[in-house]
Amino acid sequence: MNEIRTLTIDGQLISADASVTILEAAKEHNIHIPTLCHLEGLSDVGACRLCLVEIEGHNRLQPACVTRVEEGMVVRTTSSRLQKYRRMVLELLFSEGDHICSVCVANNACELQDLAYAAGMDHVRFDYLHSTHALDASHDRFVVDHHRCILCARCVRVCADVEGAHTWDIAGRGHTAHLVSDLAQDWGEARSCTSCGKCLLVCPTGALFAKGFVVSDPQNKQDFLRYIANTKSRKAWKDE
């Protein structure tokens, strides 16, 4: 029994199914809201805070990816405050990791980079933390470089929900949180890993990549993402 809700997004009156999130409703009416930890086809965690929107009557900003539409909602997806906050989220991410684009395999194919361009981030005002992490190339085909990991947990979700291996998970807490495979073993020894490579294809940055790729090599991630989007939520196996 899905009822219809009517609401306005950026002044545009729209109607959407009650079970739909603001992000999905906006997408259906091609209103763009920036996202990073969201990936169509995977469950949503509301962690990166890039898709925060202003809703009249709510003094708190709400993440569009997990907030359901409600009758008579008035949503604003951009304002100077939201743009400033989105740029600051990106500055914080760039300061936390070691995002040196000139030597990165994902250069020119990185969602973090594209978002930073869209936010007009020409420099980072916070100190670079330069925390030293491991670089694990023990898997015969893949590499994980924790310096570029932004802990969006897309790989954790695709590996657990779509592949069903649950090799990846987040360990530690706060600023020492980091990705681990199985019992924090080297990726090559993680027995649960089926080497399917789905985690590589959903990783928005250059943290997970296949051996043999050199700097700014084009990685054809885009068609797989569309495949994963259609299997889960929309009509399965539809190829566009």
């Binding site: 760039f94 070691d98 040196i100 684009c101 000139s102 030597v103 990165c104 250069n107 020119n108 980079q113 930073a116 361009y117 869209a118 007009g120 981030m121 020409d122 420099h123 980072v124 005002r125 100190d127 670079y128 330069h130 030293t132 700097v215 700014s216």
Partner: protein
């Protein structure tokens, strides 16, 4: 800006790739020199420090304490300082040494072997900062021009806007890292 614009450039902890990209302006260099003078640059052999500058392009990150002083000195003489290239804007490859402990790195590199050849880091190397810093951690920066190197067209857009007396807008279309 009826008078001629004075442009200067220096390179700190960098690889001079950005200056090479500056030379890729090719024939546009002539248009530039019609309206501006390059008064101080590694590319020209004029050595006296100008007492005032309109625009300064600074390539490279701040790796040595001497560079920090040089930078502050130029800041006090320049109207518009441009962080020129990824090293100046984010620290880039030069800042990768921040993961390592400086003293143990020096001891490792110049240790027993270096001592045998009479190299003592304290005398033969300039004083280094523990942490390589992007420019805006040392001085105020007016324009950030990321890129490794920034493409010649972007350099030309920036310089041309400055010649016209406008502040260049490095927006989504023009921004490129790496």
């Amino acid at each position: 800006m009826e008078g001629r614009m004075s442009i200067g450039s220096i390179w700190l902890g960098g690889c001079s790739g950005c200056h090479m990209s500056f030379l890729d302006l090719d024939e546009r260099l002539f248009q530039l020199l019609e309206r501006a003078d390059i008064v101080f640059s590694p590319l020209s052999d004029r050595r006296e420090l100008p007492d005032a500058l309109d625009v300064l392009l600074v390539e490279g990150a701040v790796a040595l304490s001497g560079q920090a002083e040089l930078l502050r000195d130029f800041r006090s003489r320049t109207r518009t300082v441009v962080a020129f290239g990824d090293c100046a804007v984010v620290g880039n490859v030069t800042a990768m040494r921040n993961h390592l402990d400086l003293t143990s790195m020096l001891r490792h590199t110049y240790g027993a072997e270096g001592a045998r050849m009479g190299h003592d880091p304290a005398h033969h190397l300039p004083a280094m900062l523990d942490e390589v810093l992007p420019l805006h951690r040392v001085i105020d920066i007016d324009i950030f021009l990321p890129g490794c190197p920034p493409p010649a067209d972007l350099i030309w857009y920036t310089v041309h806007e400055l010649l016209e007396g406008r502040h260049p807008v490095i927006d989504e279309k023009r921004l490129r890292y790496g």
